[in-house]
Amino acid sequence: MSTDAAIMVRRNLKHTVRNPIAVFNAILLPIVLMLMFVYVIGGAFDVGVDYVDYSTPGMILLAITYGLSATALAVNSDMTKGVINRFKVMDISRGAVLTGHVVGSVLRTIIAIAAIIGTAFLLGFRSSAGFVDWLGVVGFSLLVSIAFSWLTVGLGLAAKSPESAGMAVVPLIMLPFLSSAIVPADEMGTGVRQFAEYQPFTPIIEALRGLLAGAPEAGDVIPALAWTVDLALVGYLWSISTFTKRA
């Protein structure tokens, strides 16, 4: 990591510490949703296993996506207030400021994921995952978080205003609901089911589910990895090109 990026990362760490509400939101909302689904709604779903066991991987993904709106807003505010232009006219490495935002975003996500996994265990979540599987869970969550953070940085850069930046991440937050996060895809109606089967969140969640159960399946892990790497690449390239173009 270049020194410029390290300086920017420190800037974003300070932001994270000074904006506890954003961190709190990113942690609290997924937990509330998890409590709702496990205690209130989930009992009515027949998923074949304990609902907390079924829903934990999806909730990890929700923990990743909920924090994204704060990232989109922060990037957009840098863009619209001219902070990014200030950095662009300096002789510093291109995109260091974006790397700072991605690291800040991933950091907030890690806290949220830890909180949701902790909550899951408190609610009676049982995992037969071994150490290597857990490493897989952590590594894979990190990768997903990096991918969506880059996508979100792109959204934040492209948006004309903070309001539209906030709106732009809503699909990312909604997509998990139209996947196998809450109920299995084959329980859904025609149309939605096909969508749920082919959208990226379903293989990502199924791969996490496999890892958490201690039995990852290549049929889930490979498409999940492919989706994640692709999304990360698209998000990164799009962010860099928007960064270069918009003055």
Binding site: S77, G82, R86, V89
Partner: protein, 314 residues
């Protein structure tokens, strides 16, 4: 030093099919203040963006500090400091942290950073506010911090895009003082403004930009000479005085609302005495008397056929 700090020739830029810069030539001598003057939408910010490597021109060439902005971007960026139209400060950092961030990015030696930061805080009267988050700052303080951040590392050429727009008169004067200090220290300043008095006060040379073209360029005095119309203005206590004076001083323009009379005059002592004698002869008393040389407002009106206050679409 004889080579210009900024030299641009044939600069063109269009966004989609809207031409914003339509062939601009500029030359700014090192150590001078150059002011680009124009109403909203004239293309001032686009010009600054092209000169500071933020935007690539469609045609033309630009050299800043002797380096080509298109091919030697890094060298140009090392030489310049830019303060944009809006205060580009980090709300979630303190004033001191904002300056430190710049000092780190500019690779000032670790031992040097505190001295530079403290010096700037002192100079911009921000010492007391330094440990507070910038989100609590007033508009004027933000602008001051913004400029202070630009000065970290003492760039040799500084671009100021409408630095005093929206500032109260006192902050404006402070900003002017700082610009004068910088020039005294040898810095080149490229300043855009829509305030004619600002260009008049600060600039060695002024270029007037209108619809993407330079319609005039020269020293403030040269520009003023292009428009005829220095005049003497009398203000009267009541309409009677105005009526009487208007009868005596033929060729004058009267303004009944303000009870004033504008009389064309070169402003010299001889012609002024003639006017005063004429009033004296008829025992007409004027409350107030002033000589006006044309200001840049008049220049703009004469050059473009429009007053500067006209808003054009961005």
């Amino acid at each position: 030093m004889t080579s210009p700090a900024i030299a641009a020739t044939g600069l063109r830029k269009a966004f989609k099919d809207k031409t914003v810069l339509d062939g601009i030539d500029l030359e700014v001598a090192a150590g001078s203040v150059f002011s680009l003057l124009g109403p909203n939408g004239a293309g001032k910010t686009t010009t600054v963006n092209v000169l500071t490597t933020l935007l690539r021109a469609d045609a033309g060439s630009v050299r800043v500090a002797g380096h080509d902005v298109a091919t030697e971007t890094a060298a140009v960026r090392k030489a310049i400091g830019v303060t944009g139209q809006f205060a580009a400060v980090d709300d979630l950092l303190t004033g001191r942290e904002n300056l430190r961030l710049m000092a780190e990015l500019k690779r000032l030696a670790p031992g040097e950073r505190d001295a530079v930061v403290d010096g700037l805080l002192e100079r911009f009267d921000l010492v007391e506010a330094a440990p507070k988050l910038v989100s609590t700052y007033s508009g004027g303080m933000r602008r001051k911090l913004d400029l202070a951040m630009t000065l970290v590392g003492a760039p040799q050429i500084i671009f100021l895009d409408e630095p005093t727009t929206g500032l109260d008169p006192r902050s404006r004067r402070t900003m002017w003082e700082i610009v004068r200090e910088l020039v005294a220290g040898g810095t080149t300043i490229f300043l855009t403004t829509q305030y004619l008095d600002e260009a008049d006060q600060l600039a060695d040379r002024v270029a007037v930009l209108d619809h993407g073209r330079l319609v005039a360029e020269g020293t403030p005095a040269e520009l003023k000479r292009q428009v005829p119309g220095s005049h003497v203005r009398f203000r009267f206590a009541g309409p009677e005085g105005l009526d009487a004076a208007a009868r005596v001083l033929t060729g004058a323009t009267r303004d009944d609302e303000n009870l004033t009379l504008r009389v064309p005059s070169d402003g010299g002592t001889r012609s002024v005495r003639t006017l005063l004698d004429a009033l004296d002869e008829y025992s007409i008393d004027a409350e107030e008397f002033s000589v006006h040389t044309p200001d840049l407002d008049d220049v703009f009106l004469a050059l473009t056929g429009r007053p500067t206050t006209e808003e054009t679409a961005r």
